[in-house]
């Protein structure tokens, strides 16, 4: 009987379709660029693409949760920078061991998330405004704390290995996949488990689908919302670690603008800004579409002005495809 029920579900309406659509888009881009340039489909370049996806991808993972609750977090870019600066403070200024610096950086991001959550749930400030404020606060704090100068990790050479070293490469010669990629995939797997297998994930969807009903069902809405923003902050912290270790420095002036790239990736991946639906695999595909597109267009030496235009067009097309699918 259950089988009969499943068959009755219109195939087009299923969640898998959007993923399929996005994935097809990704494959299309891959094939297209491979045909257009012999230098695109090469091991080194593919690794480069994945590495270039890591920072944006981790940010997108975090903000996926927030967007599924029908919220938004504009502070992710600068919270990332803030976390990087904090880990610089811990490691370079305070000479603390690297693991403590990493944890400290991630906790700094999570702390920003808690503040976001509290301003949204307790002070009832809309997420757009709360996180816009947090964006400015962390941007300013990063500059203040760092004294407007980059903080280098020259005294801790191991720090750089977090991103660009390759554990896999040392085990399998020639298979030089940077650690950042492994961390990104691990973060994605954790995010996916959190979203689909745990109470946190269930309430993430419930909040986005009907917040009032969730509240009336006896769920502590404020607590879970704050938790979700905190999780997002922690992911920003992780992105900050990946970025600063790759640059071997915490650059306090960077960060703004990264939030829009991450949100775009989430949306391309089929997560609706009105909440209630979304998948981690979608977000990852969305992030890859963005980086494959930039990489491919650069390889073809398309002028940067046009790269931006094309990315914008792709974003709109992706969301439009989703709307068309829903209408059916």
């Amino acid at each position: 009987m259950e089988l009969g029920m499943n068959l009755k579900k219109p195939l087009l309406k299923s969640d898998a379709t959007q993923k399929l659509l996005a994935f097809a888009g990704l494959i299309f881009l891959f094939v297209g660029f491979s045909l257009a340039s012999p230098n695109f489909f090469k091991f080194d370049n593919i690794v480069s693409i994945i590495l270039a996806t890591c920072v944006n991808g981790v940010l997108a993972l975090g903000v996926s949760f927030v967007i599924i609750t029908s919220g938004i977090d504009l502070s992710i870019g600068t919270v990332m920078t803030f976390s990087a600066v904090m880990s610089g403070v811990f490691i370079t200024f305070m000479k603390l061991p690297i693991p403590i610096g990493i944890i400290g950086g991630i906790l700094a991001g999570a702390a920003c998330g808690i503040v976001n959550g509290v301003t949204i749930t307790k002070m009832k400030i809309p997420p757009f405004i709360s996180t816009l404020g947090m964006m400015m606060i962390t941007k300013g704090l990063s500059l203040v704390i760092s004294g407007t100068k980059p903080i280098y990790f020259n005294d801790s050479p191991f720090y750089r290995q977090i991103s660009v070293g390759s554990i896999l490469g040392s085990m399998i010669p020639g298979f030089e996949i940077p650690n950042a990629v492994l961390i990104f995939f691990a973060a994605a797997i954790i995010a996916s488990i959190l979203l689909t297998k745990t109470v946190l994930g269930r309430y993430t969807f419930a909040l986005g689908s009907n917040e009032e009903a969730t509240r009336l069902s006896g769920v502590n809405v404020n607590f879970w919302k704050t938790t979700i923003y905190t999780l997002c902050g922690a992911y920003c912290g992780l992105a900050g670690i990946l970025m600063s270790s790759r640059l071997n420095s915490a650059q306090p002036a960077l960060g703004q603008g990264y939030e829009l790239d991450a949100i775009a990736a989430v949306v391309i991946g089929g997560t609706s800004l009105s909440g209630g639906e979304g998948t981690i695999i979608g977000t990852i595909i969305g992030a890859f579409i963005m980086s494959v597109l930039t990489n491919g267009l650069r390889i073809l030496s398309v002028p940067q002005e046009w790269q931006t235009v094309i990315t914008g067009v792709i974003l709109i097309l992706a969301v439009y495809a989703d709307i068309v699918r829903r209408k059916k």
Partner: protein, 345 residues
């Protein structure tokens, strides 16, 4: 009482400035197409400025294109040195990113409202600043350009590095290091500013004119963002496996190229030439990972800009173009005494 009043005014001004800053993105920068009328500004301004000076310490706002970046911090250092030497009061400010033309215009507006003795300005967008500069001219406030300067006749002087000349020299060095032939590429920090355009064209034109065997295969832009520049440079190297050399047009771009070379393990296979300084770039030059870089003299730029402003305000005659010079540094010469003040961290 009086003190309170002053405080109130100051506070409200602060509020207004911060508010303007907050909503700056919605405020389009004006960009009139009118060319500035030609004028010999320096002479006419002299008497008025004298009067101002009598009222107290001369006040000169310095508006740069940024303030976080170490380059601007070095410029600030030079400006402060000049302020001390000439006993004038300066303020140093700049927008957070080089895209914030509107914010800089607001800073210029606020500075003008304070009726300064002279203004030093590194315009992000010269055309957008012209209406305000004309206002300054009408009020007999001399304007001194610095760094990329101001593309107009209004400034009485400009203290700057000749970007095209400096980048041309970098091209010569590139040709020498790769043996006069092969493929090279550029990672540039932006495609609109005078420094971006000047360095890009200075480099590219020199190659075209003098080195027919060298081919520029790609010019891409990384916005001066270290991470983006890294990915840009990596892509260029992927797309052009036979690449012999890359030129990074500012600190962020040079570091991006450096990261790309490291990540793709192409040390020694690709010639890297940078621009500006910074700790990471200095270390890389010292270790030979960057073959050499052009440095401007940011301290000198700041110093000379303020110096020229003081002189203009006093009505003294000054040179129209103050070349603050550039230097090539590599691991062989960078420890020399002459580089100490030039290579900021």
């Amino acid at each position: 009482m009086r003190f309170n009043k002053v405080l109130t005014v100051l506070l409200s001004m602060l509020l207004v400035v911060s508010l303007l800053g907050g909503c700056s993105s919605s405020k389009p920068a004006e960009a009139p197409k009118t060319e500035a009328p030609k004028a010999e500004a320096a002479k006419t301004e002299a008497p008025k400025a004298e009067e101002k000076k009598a009222a107290g310490k001369m006040y000169i706002p310095v508006i740069s294109k940024g303030f976080q970046h170490q380059f601007w911090q070095a410029v600030k250092m030079g400006a402060e040195k000049a302020a001390k030497q000439y006993d004038v009061e300066i303020t140093f400010e700049g927008p957070e990113s080089e895209a914030q033309v509107d914010k800089q215009i607001e800073m210029l507006e606020a500075a003008l409202a304070k009726k300064p003795a002279a203004i030093c300005l590194a315009a992000l967008d010269s055309k957008a600043a012209i209406p305000l500069l004309e206002k300054a001219k009408a009020a007999n406030i001399p304007v001194v350009g610095f760094d990329s300067g101001v593309d107009s006749e209004i400034p009485v002087a400009t203290a700057s590095t000749d970007n095209a000349k400096a980048a041309g020299y970098a091209a010569d060095k590139m040709a020498e290091l790769i043996g006069g032939k092969g493929e090279v590429a550029l990672v540039v920090h932006d495609q609109t500013s005078a420094t971006g355009v000047g360095r890009r064209d200075g480099f590219a034109n020199r190659i075209k004119e003098k080195y027919p065997d060298i081919k520029i295969v790609d010019i891409q832009y990384g916005g001066g963002d270290h991470l983006k520049s890294t990915d840009v440079a990596k892509t260029i190297m992927q797309a052009h496996p036979n690449l012999k050399g890359i030129f990074g047009s500012n600190e962020g771009s040079a570091i991006g190229v450096l990261n790309a070379v490291n990540e793709l393990k192409k040390d020694g296979k690709i010639v890297v030439i940078g621009y500006d300084a910074g700790k990471q770039q200095k270390d890389a030059v010292k270790s030979g990972k960057i073959n050499g870089s052009i440095t401007q003299d940011p301290v000198g730029i700041g110093f000379k800009a303020v110096e020229a402003a003081v002189k203009a305000a006093k009505g003294e005659k000054i040179e129209k173009n103050i070349d603050t010079g550039f230097k090539w540094y590599d691991k062989t010469n960078m420890d020399g005494e002459e580089f100490k003040p030039l290579l900021y961290d």
